[in-house]
């Protein structure tokens, strides 16, 4: 028997503390009700049997007709029926109270009367088993012994009375004594069994309810957990997955976990490998993995695994996987890092600004005095480099200045067209740019001024590497997979793999004349608005089949106008 508060063995090594709430168990358990009904039905059965037996014996004239005796049996039947139908199940109580009279007293009275009368010459002493059992199973130990004592007394009195009439009364007295003793034993044993049964039933009921409560608590915890939770068997079958895990793994709700195996999707292979390593080594694992759920859609996860050992021969070992979305953690970290870096670099940049302005201005004053071409060249060099420095400073300050972006819904085609034309007006060599806008009627989530900076950075970059041919740069928009995209393509040569890897990092530039912040700023701004920027080598978006470098921004997208609040760019047209 398990004590109710002892947790099952599966939790024994867990530090999860769990004290089941104490509940008041109602004194009348359903099993008492069942037993009570059983005994009452047994009484009715005995009453019917007695009536039929006596009636049959008298009808067949095997016994003398005695209406009084039949009447007694009929009365008994009526009484037990009345008790069964009219009273509510209640224990006979600790002592001889009303309940005892109605449930046990009537029996004793009837059976002893029949026994005294020796009705139809039958021995009725075995019938006393019923009241004794009723008292010992439904009532207390005292009541059981009391009832057994009453039965024994009645039997002895009967034997004594019989002994007055007959000469040989010793045998009857001994028989009565033995029967009475037997009933004492029955009363004690039945009472012990009943008490024990009830105790076990209560314990079982309590631990069942505690287990149910705990299961429910676990369900709530798992459902609301922000980390994904996955339970995988050794056969790769997924036994359970919480909503977060489903969301992380890009898993539609209609597929039930049991129908899916971890190896069923190619994108989940790293997870399957980790589960295999867990099963193979039998030890907990932890790893950071990237899942390629769809082309171009990667999820970075920190995965920790634990193995549950089989509890008995019928259960198998399961691998429990905890999935943590690294994007959120990374985004949080980046925001904090950027804020700290921002404060620092803004302070530095600000201090650099005035000396730089002085150098620039002094240099241009000096340059006006110089007549020697070699000296003029040197002054030009100083001028060019101070210009570059001040550009870096301004970009840092700009990046820091926009700390709280406001995301608007932009009519992508309109905004891109206006901004590209604006850029062309200020930039030499910009007649090489072609526009191909096909995203209408998509609305992209971004800030107008930020989009201008992304676009200008990408176009400036493209201009730096593109050829002199017309259409060497293509700015295009389209909608792919329900998401609006902006492409800035140029016909420059392919990028080195080493350059590609660090393309979006700050101050990583293969070009000595750029600030090294352009693409980094683009990525930062995209991150702020939930957009993604990526580089690819591919054909021009105008369909001409020319190979070139393509930068693609994928936006959060709507195809309908935002309900409520006029979108940013409905006004300008």
């Amino acid at each position: 028997m398990a004590a109710p508060s002892t947790p099952p063995s599966t939790w024994s090594h867990s530090t999860w503390t769990w004290e089941p709430p104490v509940t008041v168990i109602p004194p009348e358990t359903p099993s008492f009700h069942r037993l009570w009904v059983g005994f009452m039905l047994a009484r009715i059965g005995i009453a019917v049997a007695l009536l039929l037996l006596l009636g049959a014996l008298m009808a067949l004239e095997l016994a003398p007709l005695n209406l009084w005796q039949l009447g007694l049996c009929a009365t008994y039947l009526a009484a037990v029926l009345a008790v069964r139908l009219l009273t509510r199940p209640a224990p006979p109580g600790r002592s001889f109270d009303a309940q005892w009279v109605s449930s046990i007293g009537i029996d004793l009275l009837t059976f002893s009367t029949l026994h005294f009368l020796q009705a139809a010459g039958l021995n009725y002493s075995p019938l006393f088993a019923l009241p004794v059992l009723t008292a010992s199973v439904l009532g207390s130990g005292l009541l059981a012994l009391g009832t057994a004592a009453a039965v024994t007394l009645l039997l002895l009195v009967d034997a004594w009375l019989q002994g007055l009439e007959l000469a040989d009364h010793t045998a009857r007295t001994v028989q009565a004594g033995l029967t009475g003793g037997g009933y004492f034993v029955v009363a004690v044993l039945a009472n012990q069994l009943a008490v024990r049964l009830e105790r076990e039933e209560r314990a079982a009921r309590r631990s069942l309810s505690a287990a149910r409560t705990q299961a429910h608590v676990n369900e709530v915890v798992i459902d609301t957990l922000t980390d994904g939770l996955l339970v995988v068997g050794a056969d790769w079958r997924i036994h359970a997955a919480n909503p977060s895990a489903r969301a992380l793994l890009g898993w539609q709700a209609r597929e039930s976990p049991a129908s899916l195996a971890l190896v069923s999707r190619p994108g989940w292979k790293p997870l399957a490998a980790l589960a295999q390593r867990t099963f193979h080594t039998g030890a907990a694992q932890s790893a950071e993995i990237a899942l390629e759920l769809a082309p171009g859609e990667r999820v970075h996860l920190r995965v920790r695994t634990r193995l549950t050992l089989p509890q008995d021969p019928w259960s198998e070992a399961l691998c429990v996987m905890f999935l943590q979305d690294l994007r959120e953690a990374e985004a949080q970290l980046r925001t904090e890092k950027l804020a700290a870096m921002g404060r620092m670099s803004a302070a530095v940049a600000h201090e650099i600004r005035n000396p730089l302005a002085a150098i620039t201005q002094a240099n241009s004053l000096l340059a006006e005095e110089l007549s020697n071409p070699a000296h003029q060249q040197l002054a030009a060099l100083v001028g060019k480099n101070t210009h570059r420095l001040s550009q870096i400073v301004e970009e840092i300050l700009n990046l820091v200045r926009v700390q709280a972006p406001s995301t608007d819904w932009l009519d992508l085609d309109q905004v891109v067209q206006a901004q590209v034309i604006d850029w062309q007006r200020h930039t030499r060599g910009s007649e090489r740019v072609q526009l191909h806008l096909h995203s209408s009627p998509a609305w992209a989530a971004f800030d107008g001024e930020h989009l201008r900076r992304v676009l200008v950075n990408l176009l400036d970059n493209a201009l730096r590497y593109a050829s002199q041919a017309p259409g060497a740069i293509v700015a295009a928009t389209d909608v792919h997979g329900g998401q609006a995209r902006l492409h800035v393509w140029s016909d420059g040569g392919p990028l080195d793999a080493g350059v590609q890897r660090h393309l979006f990092e700050p101050f990583f530039s293969s070009e000595s004349r750029s600030s090294g912040l352009g693409l980094y700023i683009c990525r930062e701004l995209c991150d702020r608005h939930g957009a993604r920027i990526a580089y690819s080598r591919g054909g021009a978006p105008d369909g001409s089949g020319r190979e070139g470098n393509n930068f693609t921004v994928t936006f959060r997208t709507r195809t309908t106008v935002v309900p409520g609040g006029a979108p940013f760019d409905t006004i300008r047209a």
């Binding site: 600004r353 005035n354 000396p355 730089l356 302005a357 002085a358 620039t360 201005q361 002094a362 241009s364 004053l365 006006e368 101070t386 001040s390 301004e394 300050l397 700009n398 200045r401």
Partner: protein
């Protein structure tokens, strides 16, 4: 360009000594007479003593904003035209300066040609 007996008189207000010197050098080369002040207080003092043909002031000064100088000149109905120097990229400052009655604004680092033409037109 006025090359008369009394060359135009210009007041330069900037707290960076080097920048101040550079403005002076640039303007002297054009034949102007130049006075320099490092703070708003100094500038006010000089303005009380005499009339200038133009005032060139930095936006940020140790004891306040260049805008205050503008407002003071406006309130006193002074004829001096005022050019404000702002840091590059702070467009809102430039707009504020124009609203407060600045003749024009220049962004740092200053392009010499631009500087000269703006100052020349401020003197008319």
């Amino acid at each position: 360009m006025p090359q008369a007996a009394s060359p135009p008189h210009i007041l330069v207000v900037d707290d960076e000594p080097d920048l101040r010197t550079l403005y002076e050098l640039t303007l002297l080369r054009e034949g102007y007479r130049v006075e320099a002040a490092a703070t708003l207080a100094e500038a006010s003092q000089m303005l009380e003593q005499r009339r200038f043909d133009a005032v060139i002031t930095d936006m940020r000064l140790p004891d306040g904003l260049g805008l205050e100088l503008l407002q003071r000149l406006g309130a006193q109905q002074r004829p001096e035209r005022c050019v404000v120097m702002t840091a590059y990229g702070s467009a809102e400052n430039a707009v504020e300066a124009l609203k407060a009655g600045a003749f024009d604004y220049l962004t740092k680092p200053v392009d010499l040609k631009q500087f000269r033409s703006v100052v020349a037109s401020a003197i008319h």
